[in-house]
Chain length 343, copies 4
Amino acid sequence: MTGKQKVAVVGASGYTGEELLRVLSRHPNIELTAVTSRQYAGKTISQLLGPQALSANLVLENLDPAAVGGKAEVFFLALPHGVAAEYAVPLLKAGKVVIDLSADFRLKNPAKYKEYYKEEHPAPELLKESVYGLPELYREALKNAQLIACPGCYPTSAILALAPALRHKLIRPETIVVNSLSGVSGAGKKADVVYSFSERDENMMPYSVPKHRHIPEIEQELSNLDGEAVAISFTPHLVPLVRGMLTTVIAEMVHPHKQEDVQKIYEDFYRHEPFVPVLPADQLPETKRVQRTNACEVAVRADARTGRLLMFSAQDNLGKGAATQAVQAFNVRFGYPEATGLI
Amino acid sequence: MTGKQKVAVVGASGYTGEELLRVLSRHPNIELTAVTSRQYAGKTISQLLGPQALSANLVLENLDPAAVGGKAEVFFLALPHGVAAEYAVPLLKAGKVVIDLSADFRLKNPAKYKEYYKEEHPAPELLKESVYGLPELYREALKNAQLIACPGCYPTSAILALAPALRHKLIRPETIVVNSLSGVSGAGKKADVVYSFSERDENMMPYSVPKHRHIPEIEQELSNLDGEAVAISFTPHLVPLVRGMLTTVIAEMVHPHKQEDVQKIYEDFYRHEPFVPVLPADQLPETKRVQRTNACEVAVRADARTGRLLMFSAQDNLGKGAATQAVQAFNVRFGYPEATGLI
Amino acid sequence: MTGKQKVAVVGASGYTGEELLRVLSRHPNIELTAVTSRQYAGKTISQLLGPQALSANLVLENLDPAAVGGKAEVFFLALPHGVAAEYAVPLLKAGKVVIDLSADFRLKNPAKYKEYYKEEHPAPELLKESVYGLPELYREALKNAQLIACPGCYPTSAILALAPALRHKLIRPETIVVNSLSGVSGAGKKADVVYSFSERDENMMPYSVPKHRHIPEIEQELSNLDGEAVAISFTPHLVPLVRGMLTTVIAEMVHPHKQEDVQKIYEDFYRHEPFVPVLPADQLPETKRVQRTNACEVAVRADARTGRLLMFSAQDNLGKGAATQAVQAFNVRFGYPEATGLI
Amino acid sequence: MTGKQKVAVVGASGYTGEELLRVLSRHPNIELTAVTSRQYAGKTISQLLGPQALSANLVLENLDPAAVGGKAEVFFLALPHGVAAEYAVPLLKAGKVVIDLSADFRLKNPAKYKEYYKEEHPAPELLKESVYGLPELYREALKNAQLIACPGCYPTSAILALAPALRHKLIRPETIVVNSLSGVSGAGKKADVVYSFSERDENMMPYSVPKHRHIPEIEQELSNLDGEAVAISFTPHLVPLVRGMLTTVIAEMVHPHKQEDVQKIYEDFYRHEPFVPVLPADQLPETKRVQRTNACEVAVRADARTGRLLMFSAQDNLGKGAATQAVQAFNVRFGYPEATGLI
């Protein structure tokens, strides 16, 4: 497809919204027609982001769903969960395409939503319609989606590390242990002493143990890959850097595979995926290599000594873990080359 | 002097208060009898600071001046300006010794206080009585002080860098340019996006230009050293580390001095000061060397090419710039060896 | 015991040696009589460490085993593996006490040494004699030890997190997965681009997968605790901070224990250990709380959903993970109160 | 101009070379035909930079001047001083365009080169021919340049901050004091303990005082702007971040100008410069805003109290301070829109 889409960003006050603006303002097939922000209404993109974004003179506005609805055909929602649904419902009724970066439409089971988000799901009828915005697994469905539910950062990193192993039945799903390290931007743009420089610098900690909100999302997708219900242990850690996410997954192998076999399975699985490079057997991922890109580097190791498979992934939590992955889904949805605006 | 003093810390919610607790809880001549904190009332020191402080079971309380007054003989005030005076006035009336770490009693001229702090001075009659808590310049007066006004972090670093040059008339005071770099803990323990990790990490900026509140304090003390009114340019910068302060001062030399001459003047000036090491002529200060100490390292360079004198100092903004310097002043006041509890 | 021991530090060129100097120079029962360093020979402690250490005028020397042997009664070896044995053998023959911080005397099985360190063990006859320097598990044996093999940083963090669970048979040892995050000082003081600021800042990575050299040491001690051979998965990660180590351990529970039960087991196990605080059930460890201390904070969580036990520990890799733990072992060996010089 | 230039990068082993590859590999009018690197010869760009660069399969080679000369028409030299001239001389003879990022052709006076670089200038006859690659001052000359000498990072930041003030005679040149803070990548990709993470993190220091090699370059250009010889004080500082440079300049005003006057002079001076935004009077520069851009944000303050002018600039030391500025000069040279490939 050629031509441009009229696009609005709803909610540009946080780091994901900012990153969306940086990327969308450079995208050759996007015309940014509206950007909303309660906090920065009245400022231009240039005042907010300096020389890091184009469309510099566009003014941010505080707009409700009705007001913003007329301004574009495609809407990126970078809003808190719950609030996103308030925008998505009327926009979808009006025939718009909604690319939602919140948690509102990721879980197919509204009971899980209630269990982890402590509220009734605001629009359960839309859960069947939404397509999970991970192009590596849902590329075909995304091409016709009206509502795209972009994955969370932790789920993206865990699913991409595990997908080949589960599809190829390399591991026992009931033994999966996921440990993730996240940069502080993952906590959002918050006025909170816990996330202040003086508290976080030279410090690290686990958090949200043992029931982080991303668990049902990870388990839903791993279950789809495996064919049976998968339950995992997931432990997120906060480390002192701004952008980056490193995930280490360990599980028992079903059979004692050799490194060259699992290496080949992983390489084959992602052979045609431009954004999931599989590292050679002598290299492990580093987050800096993927910073400010849409890539999620993946590595796999068969540990003969313990009979376990080790899987690793590295991504930018604001990139493949959030904003650029949403743009990748946009490209798939509208038929642009998948890397448009992303490299 | 031997024996112990009953000591209270008023205001332990911030980084200076925390550092005071770490140091005072180890001081062999101090019995911590009360610690106040609005925010952490009910918690023990151990809950607040973990294994970094002793007196672990002492419980923090929210106490007004009257209530805390009966609990100790010496009071360290780690409070915001204005609030400090509310405690200092009744405590002094009750005959207590007050070691104030706020800005309330540093400026001798209440008009300057009003100009920079935008309020009438709350107790101008005490300004004559207070002794500036920089032992290197006011050791004798501190021995009998009832009210000690501990210096600000920037003033400590600038004054110690400049004192030998001004006393020895090496430089033209009207040409003094002071540039300082501060770690983020200097901004306090604050829930503010500006001081969040994601904003400050990998970032730096000047701030409070050209009228930072520490200017009148620096100028007051430099004028005392020089004998005539000194006006300076002072530019503070925020850099991404937690604890540390580096100050670079540049001024025109009155005469073209050689390095060995200015080196000797500086070494002689601080020869008997255990906490102000003068670095040799082939070394420049680094803040990490003085982190978590009460030292302020000083260096001097004569630049024959430009006819200027370069003066440098490095300290820990929470150490010699705040908490440990207050303890040094306490030691002087009560006749303990000056390094007691500090190394 | 009272009085002072004559103590030498052999190998003060690295971060562990520096930290030893900081701590030992303040220890009231230690007289530092010699410090060796090939790299810094001729410098004083003060030139090396600035105001962070006492014994400032002691000069570092480049001394061979024979030359240093006459200078003290107790020797802390902060040397590379292999080199440590070259000093330990003659010193032990001369009747000295050796506290070795290298890997040379930790493994009881010389075959494991050869497998992981790629060399024949230099003095296998000493392996029976050496006592593992973890006071929480080997306090009695340490009281008469001539050769103390101080634990590695990763082993200390993993063993302390797992000890109560293994002793109380709470978990299936064959399911143990250990993930650790280390500050960069753990890699030593190295001129290597990999450890340069520009490479490591804003970056993180796993490394030495799947066969890190600390694995046989961890497995040896876990097997002692469990009574049967234990094999683990261990994945270390490098994160951008200088000092700190965080370890997350996950294993299947044998029975579905409740949080209050495992909490009580952990609290009882470490009730009399001043340096292993067990955190309450609503708190998780942070490395900053233990920075520059000898503490290793431990937490435990029973995850009913997955039937797994989660165990966490946080320590300073140069503190309880290296230098201060060696001093704790020294205190035990010579009958000083265990916290002497450490708080 | 349209079409593509055949371009080679000579010396891709350092951070400037890497950044050049990132930018040039995306530039729509550049065909990368050769990249040389002694250290990484045999690797592909993709192996070196991962997903951060395109032209992924180009293989780096170790090529001497004769061998590389036939491979392109335009040569970016990211080499140490001295080595750069060894390539530039034969390439220029062969009629190629050379864009040199080293110090070899910046100083017009070979005596200054010898004084600061301790070697005879390797090709003094070329100094008349070279054009200083700062488009904001030398745009016209660059359009026909065969040899472009790209400015150093510190000179760029100082000159852009000072240019309007000197051109408009706002300040007394003999009073100029320049203080700069640089990220650690400015020191290059070096295996040196001084630049290791454990040494530089949580640390800061001045260095190369008082005779940094960039001083004659700054003074040469300020003298051109002022019309008379200008001598400055320049103090660089190393701070713990990777990419960023902040410069603070202070000088006495000739007359007591008001803020609105100096503000207008600065805004007018840079009104048509897309890469030098002048900040409004209520904002000060932060380096993060310009990270990974070609922008150098500038601010100015008139301090009525001291009669001084304060000038600030913020840039990315690898961006406007090095690689992207070289690309900007390339765009000017070949008639492409100046921002091509840069935003």
